[in-house]
Amino acid sequence: MAVDWKRFILILVAGASLGLAWNAGSGRGMALGQSVLVQAGDELVATRAGKVLLDQGALFLDARPRDFWRMSRIPGALPLPEEDFERAFQEAEPRLRRASAVVVYCSGYGCEASHLVARKLREKGFAAAILDEGLPAWQDAGLPLDEEPRS
């Protein structure tokens, strides 16, 4: 008895179709067209636009754990790790008040920290854009990093 390929394809197609139909019609679905990390109110800024903002003096905030910031960072970025938000926010607040624009970044891909930090900042009354695809995209574009170790 051999494999019936029509049945094989049918299982795959029927399963996928059911999933798409459930997502569209159940009321419990999710938006498919954008990153799942993006919520209403999030403002994204692309890598190149981020570089322009940096050159214009925007304040960059590093949402990764502090040890990563200590190793390397976008030039001038302050640490604002998501897991230590309140303490780091107090350190950064004077700079935030003076900043013309604020951009938060983390390690890209599935990294949610920049989104969470930007939302917390919004709750505190500071508008902050999220660097789309984060630090990996910044490095891939050949943009500068400050790699001098900090304590």
């Binding site: 094989f8 399963g15 999933g19 798409l20 999710m30 067209g33 799942v36 990390l37």
Partner: protein, 165 residues
């Protein structure tokens, strides 16, 4: 070995175990597609939008194949779908490991974030690593046994010829 795998009762047990596992694994993902999409995105194998599509469709394929295995209908084809999924999972895990990406919750069965580190089950059973690859290879073996091997019924003992006098 092949005689053992071909035994109808062994085939039944393998089919029910694999089917139940895939049905069980699909439920949490179907309940929380956004959480599952985040986990897929963290694997860094596909981008944000394909991650969403996989999150929405994959659990339903697992559910369909799992239910067919439990029901015993289209057994070979359902097992082959499971085998295909496992090959994709193994390849993706190999890619994640080769790139040195740390995925702490593979999203294989449960997609809800485990914030509190618990002693049991240990972390290495949850993340993407050798344990996951070994487990999926074992499951792939089970799935292929269901695809390839035809159950063989042992012939009933022949009735003894009644001696005639």
């Amino acid at each position: 070995m092949s005689a053992l795998v071909a035994h109808p009762r062994v085939q039944l047990v393998l089919r029910l175990l694999l089917g139940a596992l895939f049905v069980y694994a699909s439920l949490d993902k179907i309940a929380s597609p956004a959480a599952f999409a985040k986990v897929i995105y963290q694997w860094q194998v596909v981008g944000p939008v394909p991650s969403n599509l996989v999150a929405v469709t994959l659990p339903w394929i697992e559910l369909a194949a799992g239910l067919l295995l439990l029901a015993g209908a289209w057994k070979r084809e359902a097992a082959l779908v499971v085998a295909l999924l496992l090959v994709v999972f193994i390849a993706a895990a190999a890619l994640v490991m080769a790139r040195g990406i740390d995925v702490q919750n593979c999203g294989c069965v449960s997609v809800t974030a485990n914030t509190a580190p618990s002693a049991w089950p240990p972390a290495w059973t949850k993340g993407v690593g050798w344990f996951l690859v070994a487990r999926n290879l074992l499951l792939l073996g089970v799935a292929m046994a269901l695809v390839v091997v035809t159950p063989v019924r042992r012939p009933a003992p022949l009735a003894l010829p009644v001696p005639t006098e």
